[in-house]
Amino acid sequence: MSSVKKYKCLHCGAGLEFSPSDQSWKCHYCYSDFSIEEVENAYDEDELPDEDQPELDSYSCNSCGAELIADDTISATFCLYCKNPTIIKNRFSGRFKPQLVIPFNLTKEDAQKIYTKWIKKRIFAPKEFKSKDEVDKITGVYVPYWLFDCEIEGMIEGVGTKVRTWVTGDLVYTETSYYNVLRDGSCRYNLLPIDGSKKLDDSIMEKIEPFDYKKMEKFSLPYMSGFMAEKYDVDSDEASISMKKRVQKFHEDRLKGTVKGYNSFKVKTSDARFNEIDEQYAMLPIYLLVNKHKGKDHVFVLNGQTGKVVGDTPIDHLRQFLFFGAVTLGSLLITLFGGALIG
């Protein structure tokens, strides 16, 4: 069995790619259209093994035979030479076998349009960020995610104040009452996503949430065809540390919400215990564009399902200064001539 997988058109044998706009597999060569059942049935001999598969020294494209250029975590890519979508099956096997997938909903063209619109608003972004080449570099990527279910039991304790004022004669009385406030409770959280890729900054990935879990499917390898994909390099134990931090914060806020009737409340101590932690491995879709500017990475991330955008661009100080000058000059003319008009 080959370690590298390629989905081919059932009619003409050309490469098959998942098309987000039709939610089906399209042959760009003969325009055939296949559903997930059709593709899965045609390739049903390829059940993903539950055992870990050994990493090979190199993988080669099964269309043209060229060696695949892919770093350790890349699990789906394109052959550099024949441009065919290629999936390294070994990296979807054993402990790397995902349980769930949210298929792409936006096409690459959609993503490019969104980026173009977004970068236009970044008036101080350096010119190269707006070039056509840059827009073409946008890539659809399946990011490895851990989706956690858990129960948290936690408490917060702090001091709340109630303030009362009244006036007698010329004096204003202010009475402040202090209370010891304690709240203890439990709650369940489901499918909390923590990204399993070290390459991507957690704080950015938090911002492209939420994903719509209703469109989530059982993982199937053909979904990867036509996109880049990564396998996780943050395992579930490591990810659960991030998860606990987030959930504890959620729970504290939840408990604070029950503290009512106080003018101020300050948490002094808090505590939390987690039960029934359960995680599922899922591939979630994003469009990614990484720009290097003066040795620093600037990331543009687009939720491949919902279209939510996160990103930053450096500020070109010359552009910023020119903009400031133009606005100042413009408003100077208005205050001068307009001011004289109404003055």
């Binding site: 406030v181 409770g185 949430e209 939420p210 729970h251 400031f324 408003s331 003055g343």
Partner: protein, 475 residues
């Protein structure tokens, strides 16, 4: 149209002759006569003048009358110097019996201001220029005081329906064209047109005295008048400084210190003096006058033209605060220096952007400045520059905010429905503190009403009808 031509020809005539003479036509028909005046050559007019003199002498009745009044006047003023002649030639016998009192007034003026006054009435329609005739009459009868034979003539030509005046010698400086025009435009023409000739002459004498008095204050320095030696010190230094400040700000500044304001209030006198400065320089003076009035024991600053706008009430009050500090103790030179310091300071600041004028009836006068003036105001207003920079900074800052995107999920996004369970809650009372503070009685902080807006320049009209601003303080 014909009237306009008349006026034009008259003005042209005045400039050609280069003598301070002004004629104001009452009758439109006179245009022909006046143009003939311009065209008639010197010899012709000399001839005709002789004719008229004969005519005048031939009219026995008129001459007798004049003689009578002359005698009377002589009788009243026995202490008059030698060479005295009656100053009223009332050939038309139109001034009535009070002619003596007029002569007394004239004598007063002569004595006080070294200035001769000739009143001449006629109703004979001459076809030669009356002006030349009267001038000859003035010269030949020995009118005029001093080497330059200083004096002023008023002619009431009842036949032609004209009045005109002519000034000779030093008097032509006091009563220049502008001053003479001012007289016409004042009461003179009005009372003449209603045939109150006596009052016309009386009014004329009032004017003559008014301007002669004001003129007597002006010394060798154009802008600093100290006729009674009140300021003392180096007046010329003050004059030099006042000139340099004036040319720097394109405004005119004056100082007048006197112990005689001829029975006027400080405000009236300051306004009159400023108005006279306009007439003397034959341009509209725009600026400020400091009057040190020891007659009324007052300081008064009068403003005119652009000076009204620059020197608002608030600024004038603040100036007076500084000036009175010296003036109260009699340090008038220092007071003048302080005045000039302030004048320079506020001229530098220019017109406050919230400046407005408010007249004596408390009506706010919105003078309609031209767009260019408003633009100039806007250019000097620091807000014009500060505001755009602030706007520029704010807009640039907003545009620079790196909208990296926001976290839009919360615990609620992932919380299982109805899974939250509050197991325990305590709210234990710990302690209580009570603080007291004095009540803020903000109502007592209200400013009292009389202060008014800082940009106000209150204005009033002077006797000549010009608008002035001004503030004063008693010494």
């Amino acid at each position: 149209m014909a009237k306009r031509i008349t006026v034009f020809l008259l003005i042209a005539f005045i400039f050609i002759c280069n003598t301070p003479l002004l004629v104001l036509g009452e009758n439109i028909d006179n245009s022909d006569e006046n143009s003939s005046v311009v065209s008639s050559d010197a010899n012709e007019s000399q001839d005709s003048t002789d004719d008229i003199e004969d005519d005048a002498n031939g009219d026995g009745n008129d001459t007798d009358n004049t003689q009578d009044s002359t005698d009377n006047a002589e009788g009243d003023d026995n202490d008059e110097p030698e060479g005295y002649v009656s100053n009223i030639a009332d050939y038309n016998n139109t001034l009535g019996d009070n002619i003596d009192s007029l002569q007394i007034r004239i004598n007063d003026i002569k004595y006080q201001y070294n200035l001769d006054v000739l009143i001449f009435t006629t109703n004979v329609a001459y076809d030669i220029p009356t002006r030349e005739y009267v001038d000859n009459f003035y010269d030949e009868n020995g009118y005029g005081i001093g080497d330059d034979r200083s004096g002023i003539i008023l002619v009431l030509d009842l036949e032609a329906g004209q009045i005109w005046t002519s000034a000779k010698g030093n008097a032509s400086t006091i009563f220049n064209d502008a001053v003479q025009l001012e007289m016409y435009n004042g009461e003179l023409l009005e009372s003449f047109s209603t045939h109150e000739d006596y009052y016309t002459v009386l009014e004329f004498l009032n004017y003559v005295e008014h301007y002669a008095h004001l003129d007597s204050k002006i010394g060798t320095n154009k802008n600093v008048a100290d006729p009674d030696g009140i300021i003392g010190g180096d007046i010329y230094a003050l004059q030099e400084r006042i000139e340099s400040i004036g040319s720097k700000h394109a405004l005119d500044f004056f100082i007048l210190a006197t112990d005689n304001v001829n029975g006027k209030t400080s405000q009236q006198y300051a306004d009159d003096f400023l108005d006279y400065m306009s007439l003397r320089s034959d341009k509209d003076v725009e600026g400020l006058l400091l009057l040190i009035d020891l007659d009324n024991q007052n300081l008064w600053i009068s403003s005119v033209g652009k000076g009204i706008d620059t020197y608002t009430d608030e600024r004038l009050d603040s100036m007076l605060d500084d000036i009175i500090y010296y003036a109260a103790d009699g340090y008038y030179y220092e007071a003048c220096e302080s005045y000039l310091d302030n004048v320079d300071h506020y001229a530098q600041l220019g017109v406050p952007y919230d400046q407005y004028q408010q007249d004596e009836h408390d009506e706010v006068i919105y003078k309609k400045p031209t767009y260019f003036e408003k633009l100039k105001l806007q250019v000097t207003n620091p807000i014009t520059y500060i505001l755009p920079v602030i706007i520029g900074m704010i807009i640039t800052l907003i545009a620079s905010l790196n909208q990296k995107g926001r976290v839009t999920v919360s615990g609620a996004t992932y919380e299982e429905q109805n899974s939250f369970f509050l197991a325990d809650q305590y709210d234990t009372f710990l302690r209580k503190t009570v603080t007291t503070a004095k009540r803020n009685t903000s109502s007592s902080n209200k400013s009292s009403g009389s202060g008014g807006s800082s940009g106000r320049s209150s204005t009033h009209k002077s006797s000549s009808g010009r608008t002035h601003g001004g503030r004063g303080r008693s010494l």
